[in-house]
C-alpha cells in the first residue's frame, strides 16, 4: 500500500497503523522502549547501590530534597501525559487543530518541568551537592539527568513534529511519528514515577 493513498482523503481510524511502514515504526518503538527500560533499570540499580554513600560533611538525601518542588514537577509531568493522550485521541478523531493544541500544551508542561528541574539542580549545587561530591551525587545526577535529557529531547522532538504537521498536514506518514512521540512521552512519565518513588520518597524516609 503506497504511503500516499490517504494523503489527501479521509484518514483511516488509526492512521499510525495504516501502512506497513507505520506498523513497523510503532512496533520498533515499543521494542526500543523495552531497551530503554533496561537502560533506566540499570541506572536505578546503580543509584540504589550507591545512594547511601554520601560522604562525610555532605548533605544527605533527607536534608537535600524539597518534596514540594518535586511534587509540583511531578504534577506537571503527569498532567502532560494526559494532554498527550488528548492529542492522540484528537488525531484518531481526525481533528488536526485540536491535536496540535494538545501537543503544544504538552510541550509547555514539559518545559515547565525542565525549568523546575534546572532550578532544583541549581539549588542542590549551592548546598554542596555537586556532580563530583560523592557516589550518591554522581549516581543521582546521572539517573535524574538522563531522565531530564529525555524530557528535553522529547520537548524538541514534539515541537518539530508540530511544525511538520503544520507544513505537511496530518497523513499516514506524519501520524506514526506523532503516535510514537506520544509513546515516548508516556514512557518518560512512567520513569519519573519510579524516580519520584525511589529517589525522592525513599530519600526522605529511608
Amino acid at each position: 500500500m503506497s504511503a500516499h493513498t490517504h494523503a489527501d482523503g479521509h484518514l483511516p481510524h488509526e492512521p499510525e497503523k495504516a501502512t506497513l511502514e507505520g506498523r513497523n515504526k510503532v512496533l520498533g518503538f515499543w521494542l526500543f522502549l523495552g531497551g530503554e527500560t533496561v537502560l533506566f533499570g540499570t541506572l536505578f540499580s546503580a543509584f540504589l547501590a550507591l545512594r547511601d554513600k554520601v560522604g562525610e560533611g555532605n548533605p544527605t538525601a533527607n536534608e537535600l530534597f524539597n518534596l514540594s518542588t518535586v511534587a509540583i514537577a511531578t504534577f506537571i509531568l503527569l498532567t502532560s501525559s494526559l494532554t498527550s493522550v488528548f492529542a492522540i485521541q484528537a488525531m484518531h478523531a481526525g481533528k488536526k487543530a485540536a491535536m496540535l493544541w494538545w501537543l503544544a500544551i504538552t510541550v509547555l508542561f514539559g518545559l515547565g518541568f525542565l525549568g523546575l528541574e534546572i532550578y532544583e539542580f541549581y539549588e542542590y549545587v549551592h548546598e554542596g551537592h555537586g556532580f563530583t561530591t560523592s557516589a550518591f551525587s554522581s549516581s543521582f545526577y546521572t539517573l535524574v539527568g538522563f531522565h531530564g535529557g529525555h524530557v528535553a529531547f522529547g520537548v524538541i522532538w514534539i515541537s518539530l513534529l508540530i511544525g511538520q504537521v503544520l507544513k505537511k498536514g496530518l497523513n499516514v506518514v506524519t501520524a506514526p511519528k506523532i503516535y510514537v512521540a506520544g509513546m515516548y512521552w508516556h514512557f518518560i512519565d512512567v520513569v519519573w514515577v519510579f524516580i519520584f518513588t525511589v529517589v525522592y520518597l525513599m530519600g526522605k524516609v529511608g
Binding site: S2, A3, H4, T5, L20, R23, N24, L27, G28, L31, F32, G34, G35, E36, V38, L39, T42, L43, S45, A46, A49, L50, K53, V54, G55, F131, T132, T133, S134, A135, F136, S137, S138, S139, T142, L160, Q164, K168, V173, K177
Partner: protein
C-alpha cells in the same frame, strides 16, 4: 495510482552506491568486509600474543604492549569481528529466508553499520595516539579507573564501544521488527527456518543486554572524563558494581554470539543430510530457553568476588541448567545426520567439526560452573581455553560454515571446494592444537593475561605447541582469503539452488538475489517451504500476489554522516575539546532533523523492468 510512482531516484554507482546503500544485501557485504578486516587485525594481535609466549622470558613485546594486545584482541574479536560477521549473515539471509523484500528499517540498517564501523575505527585509532586500551576486554575497575589508568587508552574503549554499541542495538531492533512484521504469507512462527529463529532470539538478547553496557560505559566515562564517583572507592564508589553491570551485559553477549552459530549449523546440517531438522520444535524451545537463562547466570563470572555461598550456589545451578537445552541441540544435530545422505562439502565440514568442538567447550563450561572448583580454574589458562573453545570452536566455525554455505547467494559464485576443505583442516587442526593444550597449562597453574613466564615451570613445550597451532589457524585464514580471490576471479557461477538440496526460501531466487529479492512474494505452505514444494513436484514457489510495481527505499548518505558526527564528537569529548564534541553532535542532530523533515518517497520498480531483466520468481 500511476501518479504515486512519479518519484524518480537517481541510481548511484560505484563508491557512492556503497556509501549510500540501504539494501540489506549490500549492507551484509559491508558488514562482512569491515568485520573481516577487524578479524584480521584481531588475528594479528593474537599471533603477536602467541609469539611473545612461545618461549619463557621472551621480549618480543614489552609488558605494556602485551596488555594492549590482549585487551584489543578480545575487544576487537568480540565487538568488531564476530558480531559484525554475524550481522553480515543476518543481513544477507534473514529477509530472504522469511520471504521479505527488505528489512523493516532500511535506513536504520545502514546507520547501524556505519556507527559500528566508526566506533571500531575510533577504538583502533588509539594505537596511533599514544596507547591502546590495556585494562582487558572486561575493563575492570579500579584497573580501568582514572587513578590507575592515566592515559587515553580506556577512554577510547568506553567511547568507541559506546558508538559501536548503538549500531548493534539498532540492528537488534531492526531484525526483531523485520521477523515479526514482514514474513511472507503462510510463514508462521513455527514454520520459520532455524537460523531465523536463532536471529530472532539473538536480537531480543541484544535489545535487553546492550542498554546495560551503555549505562556501564557511561558511568565509567563519567568517572574518567568528569570525575564522577561510580567506581571511585575513596568517594563511596563500588568496584563490584562495574562487574555486575558488565556481566549482566556480558553473559547474554556470549549467547548473542553463539545462538546465530547454532542457527547456521542447524541449516547446514539439515541441508547436507538431505533431512528435515530433527526435533524442530524442541530446537526452537531450546533456543528460547537458552536466551532466557542467559540473563540469569551473569554472576558465574564473579564466583571469586566474594558474593557469598548462597549467590554462588544459585548462579552455579542456573549455569549448569543451560547445559540441558544445549544438550537437546547437540542430540538433535546428531539425529538429523543419523540416516541422512550426508555430503561433506566445506560448509558441512565446518558444521560437523563444530559439534564435538562445542561439546568440549560446553563440558569445561559445566566444570567452571561448579563454584568451588572455579576458585582453582579462575584467571588461569583453563578459562582461556574454555572460552576459545566456545567462541572460536563454536562461533567462528559456525561463521565459516555459514559463509561457505551462503557465499553463492551473497556473491553469485561458488567458493572453491578444495580450498574450502584446506581452510577447514588447517584451521580446525590449528585450533585444537592452540587451545586443547591450554586447558592443561591452566590446570598446571599458568595464569592468564601474563606477558611472560619463568623457565623450568613445565610450561615451555605446551606454549610452543600452542603458538604453532596459532600459526596454523592463521594459515587457514589465509587459505580462505586465497579462496575468496580465486573465486572472485574465476569462480563458477551459482544457480538459484546451487547445493541442489536447498530447503528454504533463499534458494528459490537467483544468486545473487536481485535488489527486490522476490519478484512475487511466495506463499509458504509448511516448514522447509522450498523443500515441501520440491517434494510435491513443483519447481518453484506458488506466488502469493500478482506481478506488480515493487516499492524500494531511496539510498541515503545521512547514515554515514551521522556516524562521522558521532566519531568527531567522541574524539572531541575525550580530549576535552568541547567545541569539537559539540560540532560532532551538531552534525548528528542536523542529519536526524533532515531525515525527519524530508519524506522518503522511495521509488518503484515497474513490472516491465522486471520482465526486461528476465528473472523468474
Amino acid at each position: 495510482m500511476a501518479h504515486a510512482h512519479a518519484h524518480t531516484v537517481k541510481r548511484r554507482t560505484g563508491l557512492m552506491d556503497w556509501l549510500t546503500t540501504v539494501d540489506h544485501k549490500k549492507i551484509g557485504i559491508l558488514y562482512l568486509l569491515a568485520g573481516g578486516l577487524f578479524f584480521l587485525v584481531g588475528g594479528l594481535e593474537a599471533i603477536m600474543i602467541r609469539i611473545q609466549l612461545w618461549k619463557p622470558l621472551n621480549d618480543f613485546v614489552s609488558a605494556d604492549t602485551y596488555n594492549e594486545l590482549l585487551t584489543m584482541h578480545g575487544t576487537t574479536m568480540i565487538f568488531l569481528a564476530a558480531m559484525p560477521m554475524l550481522f553480515a549473515l543476518m543481513n544477507a539471509v534473514i529477509p530472504l529466508q522469511i520471504g521479505a523484500r527488505d528489512v523493516a528499517f532500511p535506513f536504520l540498517n545502514s546507520l547501524g553499520f556505519w556507527t559500528f564501523f566508526f566506533g571500531g575505527v575510533l577504538l583502533n585509532v588509539s594505537w596511533f595516539t599514544g596507547g591502546a586500551p590495556d585494562a582487558g576486554w572486561t575493563s575492570y575497575v579500579p584497573l580501568a579507573s582514572p587513578a590507575y589508568n592515566t592515559d587515553y587508552g580506556v577512554d577510547y574503549y568506553v567511547i568507541g564501544l559506546q558508538i559501536a554499541g548503538i549500531g548493534t542495538l539498532i540492528g537488534g531492533i531492526n531484525f526483531l521488527v523485520t521477523i515479526i512484521n514482514m514474513r511472507a504469507p503462510g510463514m508462521t512462527f513455527m514454520r520459520m527456518p532455524m537460523f531465523t529463529w536463532a536471529i530472532f532470539v539473538t536480537s531480543a538478547l541484544i535489545l535487553f543486554a546492550f542498554p546495560a553496557l551503555t549505562v556501564g560505559l557511561v558511568a565509567l566515562m563519567f568517572d574518567r572524563l568528569f570525575e564522577a564517583n561510580f567506581f571511585n572507592v575513596a568517594n563511596g564508589g563500588n568496584t563490584v558494581l562495574w562487574e555486575h553491570i558488565f556481566w549482566i551485559f556480558g553473559h547474554p553477549e556470549v549467547y548473542i554470539l553463539i545462538l546465530p552459530a547454532f542457527g547456521v549449523i542447524s541449516e547446514v546440517i539439515s541441508t547436507f543430510s538431505r533431512k528435515r531438522l530433527f526435533g524442530y520444535s524442541s530446537m526452537v524451545f531450546a533456543t528460547v530457553l537458552i536466551g532466557f537463562l542467559g540473563f540469569m547466570v551473569w554472576a558465574h563470572h564473579m564466583f571469586t568476588a566474594g558474593l557469598g555461598p548462597v549467590a554462588n550456589a544459585l548462579f552455579s545451578i542456573a549455569t549448569m541448567l543451560i547445559a540441558v537445552p544445549t544438550g537437546i541441540k547437540i542430540f538433535n544435530w546428531l539425529f538429523t545426520m543419523w540416516g541422512g545422505s550426508i555430503k561433506f562439502t566445506s560448509a558441512n565440514l565446518f558444521a560437523v567439526g563444530f559439534v564435538p568442538t562445542f561439546v568440549m567447550g560446553g563440558v569445561t563450561g559445566v566444570m567452571l560452573a561448579a563454584a568451588p572448583a572455579d576458585f582453582q580454574y579462575h584467571d588461569s589458562y583453563f578459562v582461556v581455553a574454555h572460552f576459545h573453545y566456545v567462541i572460536v570452536g563454536g562461533l567462528i566455525l559456525g561463521i565459516f560454515s555459514g559463509l561457505h554455505y551462503w557465499w553463492p547467494k551473497m556473491f553469485g559464485k561458488m567458493l572453491n571446494e578444495f580450498l574450502g576443505k584446506l581452510t577447514f583442516w588447517t584451521f580446525f587442526i590449528g585450533f585444537h592444537m592452540t587451545f586443547l593444550i591450554q586447558h592443561f597449562l591452566g590446570l598446571m597453574g599458568m595464569p592468564r593475561r601474563i606477558y611472560t613466564y619463568l623457565d623450568g615451570l613445565g610450561f615451555n613445550e605446551m606454549n610452543l605447541i600452542s603458538t604453532i597451532g596459532a600459526f596454523l589457524m592463521g594459515l587457514g585464514t589465509i587459505f580462505f582469503i586465497i579462496n575468496i580471490i580465486v573465486t572472485a576471479v574465476s569462480g563458477q557461477k551459482a544457480s538459484n539452488d546451487p547445493w541442489e538440496d536447498g530447503r528454504t526460501l533463499e534458494w528459490t531466487i537467483p544468486s545473487p538475489a536481485p535488489e527486490y529479492n522476490f519478484k512475487q512474494t511466495p506463499l509458504v505452505r509448511g516448514y522447509d517451504a522450498f523443500w515441501k514444494e520440491k517434494m510435491d513436484g513443483n519447481k518453484e514457489m506458488t506466488p502469493a500476489e500478482p506481478i506488480g510495481p515493487i516499492h524500494m527505499p531511496s539510498p541515503s548518505i545521512l547514515p554515514l554522516f551521522m556516524a562521522i558526527g558521532l566519531f568527531i564528537a567522541g574524539l572531541g569529548f575525550m580530549y576535552h575539546k568541547y567545541y569539537i564534541g559539540g560540532a560532532g553532535l551538531a552534525i548528528l542532530f542536523l542529519c536526524m532533523l533532515i531525515r525527519s523533515l524530508k519524506d522518503d518517497h522511495g521509488f518503484h520498480i515497474e513490472p516491465e523492468e522486471l520482465q526486461d531483466k528476465g528473472v523468474k520468481a
